[in-house]
């Protein structure tokens, strides 16, 4: 029973962490009384290691994907676009560009390479809901409103579908720039870990 519980707790940790510390950690757990408090402590720290060892672009993309899901839900539900939609889109693009830069910076800081690629992956993951909505629109599965009277912006299923591809070069460039800044910053912090 205890051995099974230890194996389960170990599986909660990322494989990379397990390969480094797994054997000794299992040995420590075997020597301790696994109370509810101890089990919850191990589970909480396993979640933290999972979060810490994930790729930076993935961690940044998840909240943006949630925002995209909300945007898609608004489009499907037929929330009016409104006169300020253009400004809203512009602000969203500015925040996304800053996030592309940040994902490039963070990736270069941690991995020492792949800043531009990370930002492009971030772009596609965060825009995935819009891409799927565009696909559903083109396939005729979901009707998508293209404009509202007095609205400052329009949407079309084609635009939703190709938007992430148009945005990819911007993402790559912002990520690459973030990588350059991170590489310069790393020189002042020689202890930065890979």
């Amino acid at each position: 029973m205890k051995r099974r519980l230890i194996a389960f707790l170990l599986r909660l940790y990322p494989a990379r962490w397990r390969s480094e510390y797994g054997a000794e950690f299992a040995s420590l757990l075997a020597a301790r009384r696994l109370t509810a408090r101890e089990v919850s402590n191990v589970a909480a720290h396993a979640a933290w290691q999972q979060l810490r060892l994930q790729q930076p672009w993935l961690l940044l993309a998840v909240p943006f994907m949630i925002v995209s899901l909300i945007g898609c839900a608004e489009l499907i539900a037929g929330v009016p676009l409104g006169a300020r939609q253009h400004e809203r889109n512009f602000a969203g693009a500015a925040v996304a560009t800053a996030a592309f830069f940040a994902s490039g910076y963070w990736t270069m800081w941690r991995n020492g390479k792949g800043a531009g690629r990370a930002a492009i992956r971030f772009n596609f993951l965060a825009s995935a809901p819009y891409l799927l909505l565009g696909l559903a629109g083109v396939a005729g599965v979901l009707p998508i409103r293209t404009a509202d009277a007095g609205a400052s912006a329009i949407y079309s299923r084609e635009l939703l579908l190709i938007g992430p591809f148009f945005q990819a070069p911007v993402a790559g460039a912002a990520g690459w720039l973030g990588g350059i800044v991170a590489r310069a910053a790393r020189r002042f912090h020689p202890r930065a870990t890979a």
């Binding site: 962490w17 510390y21 054997a23 000794e24 950690f25 299992a26 040995s27 420590l28 757990l29 020597a31 301790r32 408090r37 101890e38 402590n41 191990v42 589970a43 909480a44 720290h45 396993a46 933290w48 290691q49 202890r191 870990t193």
Partner: protein, 104 residues
């Protein structure tokens, strides 16, 4: 009976681990037992290994050759300097606080 403080520099897992290893290399279980004895804190196994991971990454402690399934850790030169600096700061703070308490 007074309650044990739950937070503060004296309960920082990193300081506790570094202080334990200042005596010599130890593996995880020995570090936990030592901390319980000298600081009165019971660290969780997850807390211990998160702090160990961080300290290894910072280069303040380093793993030694494994002894069976256990792997001892030792304090590095950098870890030694960092521990000395942080304990010195705590000592200075404690001295000021105690002096003010005695004159209040």
């Amino acid at each position: 009976m007074a309650r044990k403080p739950k937070a503060g520099p004296a309960s920082d897992p990193e300081i506790l681990i570094l202080s334990s290893l200042a005596e010599g290399p130890k593996h995880g279980y020995a570090i936990l037992s030592d901390i319980e004895v000298f600081a009165g804190h019971t660290l969780g196994a997850g807390t211990l290994y998160t702090a160990i991971t961080r300290l290894v990454e910072k280069g303040w402690i380093a793993p030694e050759t494994p002894d069976g399934r256990q792997r001892p850790y030792r304090l590095t030169g950098e870890g030694h300097a960092c521990l000395a600096q942080r304990l010195d700061e705590m000592q200075r703070l404690a001295r000021v606080g105690l002096k003010r308490l005695s004159t209040a």
